[in-house]
């Protein structure tokens, strides 16, 4: 009987382990084994319906908006540091509308933290998609806003204050910052410039549009890469704004580089030594630009600055689903035991390659990020 119990316990453990880390076939001996494996869409197909994502016991108390947002994160419909952060803060704002603490609750703040904020965030980060630095910083801000509330405030007051605080945060540190960055960076664009950008950064998009509306004559080269091909959305948006564009994949980069005058890149996070964590491929673009003596400007809001220092792209990264790397010849990759398909999402651009970082505080040299 004891043996049976033990067996039961073991299988329960395995079950929960299986749930926590879906057994995608990234081979465990790789140097990326420290990163949580990606959700393999084929393996986890039914797992991508919202109801299934929220089937675990601890998720039963989550607000439907949180589950909905989790699905959008996991399926990749919301991408980009700013977009994810905005969506998160909007979601919290909506959840607060419906928030009702239990009658016997002594400290609303603690209840709010433990039953709304923490569970939602850990659900997104662990079950849907690892969080970005922008989301992390915004979440820390929200937690400290909750903690600094008055103990005796009424529920309505708390909700109003928190909603206003999140709204102000988005306005100041995202919207306003983007505007100021666009203004600073546009002063550096002169007539005749050929601007190179990579993938799709929301800040770079808005600065190019604002430069175009101020009648400057320049053209843009959008560099892109598989599997996400995010540059296509940027290209469409710039064409709608009437900007002359050229679209290349990364392999033509060295050819186009001789015509380029400036490079504008976005960032997912800024490390405190000035290195830039951004979409994989950014480091290539920056390195090639610097070796051809072109100016590389990274546009990043200050809320994306991280206290971490990362020395290379391996320690802090995110694995995407390997099946996006698949072409028709690699269909059977799951069965090949010596074959690993790697789909990394981020890479690190060292600070010596970056000419300047455009933030809402002005244009700074990379070495001064730590001062901010």
């Amino acid at each position: 009987q004891q043996q049976q119990q033990q067996q039961q316990q073991q299988s329960k453990k395995e079950e929960s382990q299986k749930d926590a880390h879906p057994p995608s076939k990234t081979k465990s001996e790789s140097i990326f084994s420290h990163l949580p494996p990606a959700r393999d869409m084929d393996e986890y197909e039914e797992g991508f319906s919202g109801a299934s994502l929220g089937t675990k016991q601890q998720h039963k108390d989550l607000h439907p908006r949180v589950l909905e947002l989790g699905l959008l994160y996991a399926s990749g419909q919301i991408r980009g540091g700013n977009a994810r952060c905005r969506a998160m803060l909007e979601c919290f704002s909506d959840v607060l509308e419906d928030y009702q603490p239990p009658q016997d609750c002594r400290d609303i703040r603690a209840h709010l933290d433990q039953h709304i904020l923490k569970p939602s965030f850990s659900y997104w980060a662990e079950d849907c998609r690892p969080h970005s630095v922008s989301m992390g910083n915004a979440f820390t801000f929200l937690k400290s806003a909750v903690a600094s509330l008055d103990r005796d405030m009424s529920l309505e007051e708390i909700i109003t204050v928190l909603q206003e605080t999140t709204k102000a945060y988005v306005q100041e540190r995202l919207d306003f910052a983007d505007q100021v960055i666009s203004d600073f960076a546009s002063t550096k664009i002169v007539d005749g410039d050929v601007i190179l950008t990579y993938a799709h950064s929301s800040v770079v998009e808005s600065l190019l549009k604002s430069a175009a509306s101020s009648e400057k004559k320049f053209r843009v080269v959008v560099a892109d890469s598989r599997p996400l091909l995010e540059g296509k959305t940027l290209l469409k948006s710039l064409r709608e704004a009437g900007i002359e564009c050229c679209y290349i994949l990364l392999n033509s980069l060295s050819y186009i580089m001789q015509d380029v005058t400036k490079v504008f890149l976005g960032a997912s996070a800024l490390m405190s030594d000035g290195s830039v964590l951004s979409r994989v491929g950014t480091a290539c673009v920056a390195l090639l630009a610097q070796s051809s003596n072109k100016t590389v400007l990274v546009c990043c809001e200050t809320y994306k600055m991280s206290n971490r220092v990362q020395l290379e792209s391996i320690t802090g990264n995110e694995l995407g689903s390997p099946q996006f790397v698949v072409s028709k010849d690699l269909q059977g990759f799951r069965d090949q035991k010596n074959l690993m398909l790697l789909n990394l999402l981020y890479d690190l651009t060292p600070s010596n390659v970056v000419s300047g970082i455009v933030t809402e505080m002005g244009i700074l040299p990379p070495t001064s990020v730590a001062v901010l």
């Binding site: 100016t295 700074l364 001064s368 901010l372």
Partner: protein, 366 residues
């Protein structure tokens, strides 16, 4: 560079008159005690505060901004050493920031005004003393038996070298400094003080680099990433120095720290009057002909609104070749030296590495 006609001085706005008054009589550009342009500007701005009839902070700030702008416009006309207008602009901006902080601390305007004057005097005092402080922090970097290479005319560099000469024996090599013969002026001063001085052609900077131990220059402005804007030729000198592993030092006061971020040479703000200058001819006479006649060792262009002092006797040189009019001439007064070529900056805030300049700027403008 002529002094403004005394008859028309009264037509200028009061702030300009003050500025000219504080700049003092233009005895000689070599005069090491002459007041720097930004310092005189700061003193003129203090006068604006004293005369001001504004009743609100915004009103006073507007008046100060207007006065700074009119001083800047005046400087850009080329009548006031057009080159140093970067330092003028940054000095005025820093002064405005410095006293604006007072507004935040003392909401009551009248009490505030008194404090503003006090702080302003303090700031002016710091700026005046800046040159001496720089000489104190920097002179120890020159050791006995070394050879110092310098370029352009800078009162800060002169103060530093003269201070070093009090305790150390060293040589100076100076680049000629076309087109305004700045090197010649500097050479005269150093020779007078008994320091062994040698003048070489600008193009000889690579040739002399192997026999030089350090390079020391001043700056018109220090930009955000720690690079400097200085007399044309500084960039080439810096690249050369780095290639030969010779340390490249810059001596600059902290009011020269400007909120500019040039990305390349053409990304500098317009230099005003001097940019419009043209070389009308190229002096191809041989070296010994332009040698030691008269107090200055070389004579450059014949353009009368040139920057050379009006006091130098004209040493005309025979055998001049003129450039035909359909040949374009480009003669910008300044170039931009990126931070990676600069070893250290000697400032009144201490000895800084180029990356520390941005940290200081963030602090100053916070």
């Amino acid at each position: 560079m002529t002094d403004p006609d005394p008859a028309t001085v009264d037509d200028y706005p009061i702030v300009i008159q003050d500025l000219l008054h504080y700049l003092g009589p233009r005895t000689s550009l070599d005069d090491k005690s002459a007041v720097a342009l930004p310092v005189a500007a700061i003193k003129a701005l203090l006068q604006v505060v004293q005369r001001s009839k504004a009743n609100t902070m915004m009103g006073l700030q507007d008046e100060l901004k207007e006065s700074s702008q009119s001083m800047l416009d005046y400087a850009l006309e080329g009548t006031l050493l057009g080159r140093s207008h970067i330092a003028l602009a940054s000095g005025c901006e820093l002064f405005l920031k410095y006293i604006t902080r007072t507004f935040l601390e003392t909401p009551d305007f009248d009490a505030c005004k008194g404090q503003v004057l006090e702080r302003g005097e303090h700031f002016a005092g710091i700026s005046l003393a800046a040159r001496d402080r720089i000489a104190n922090v920097g002179h120890g970097f020159i050791r006995d038996g070394q050879t110092v290479l310098t370029h352009g005319w800078s009162r800060v560099v002169a103060a530093l070298l003269l201070k070093a000469a009090e305790t150390t024996h060293f040589d100076i090599v100076i680049l000629e400094g076309r087109p305004d013969a700045a090197g010649a002026k500097a050479a005269a001063l150093y020779a007078q003080e008994g320091i062994p001085t040698k003048v070489v052609l600008d193009s000889a900077m690579g040739y002399v680099m192997e026999s030089v131990d350090l390079v020391l220059v001043g700056a018109e402005g220090v930009v955000e990433n720690g690079g400097i804007v200085n007399k044309m030729g500084t960039f080439a000198l810096a690249v050369n120095a780095q290639e030969s592993n010779v340390p490249f030092y810059v001596a600059a006061e902290s009011y020269k720290f400007a909120r500019l971020y040039p990305l390349h040479q053409k990304d500098l703000p317009t230099m005003g009057g001097l940019n419009q200058q043209h070389l009308d001819f190229v002096d191809t006479a041989s070296w010994h002909r332009t040698g030691r006649e008269g107090p200055s060792s070389t004579k450059k262009q014949q353009d009368t609104n040139a920057t050379s002092t009006p006091h130098e006797p004209s040493n005309t040189v025979s055998g001049i070749v003129t450039i035909p009019h359909n040949v374009k001439v480009d003669n910008p007064p300044c170039d931009y030296t990126p931070a990676k070529y600069i070893t250290l900056l000697f400032t009144d805030l201490g000895v800084l590495t180029p990356s520390a300049v941005s940290d200081e700027l963030i602090r100053l403008y916070q």
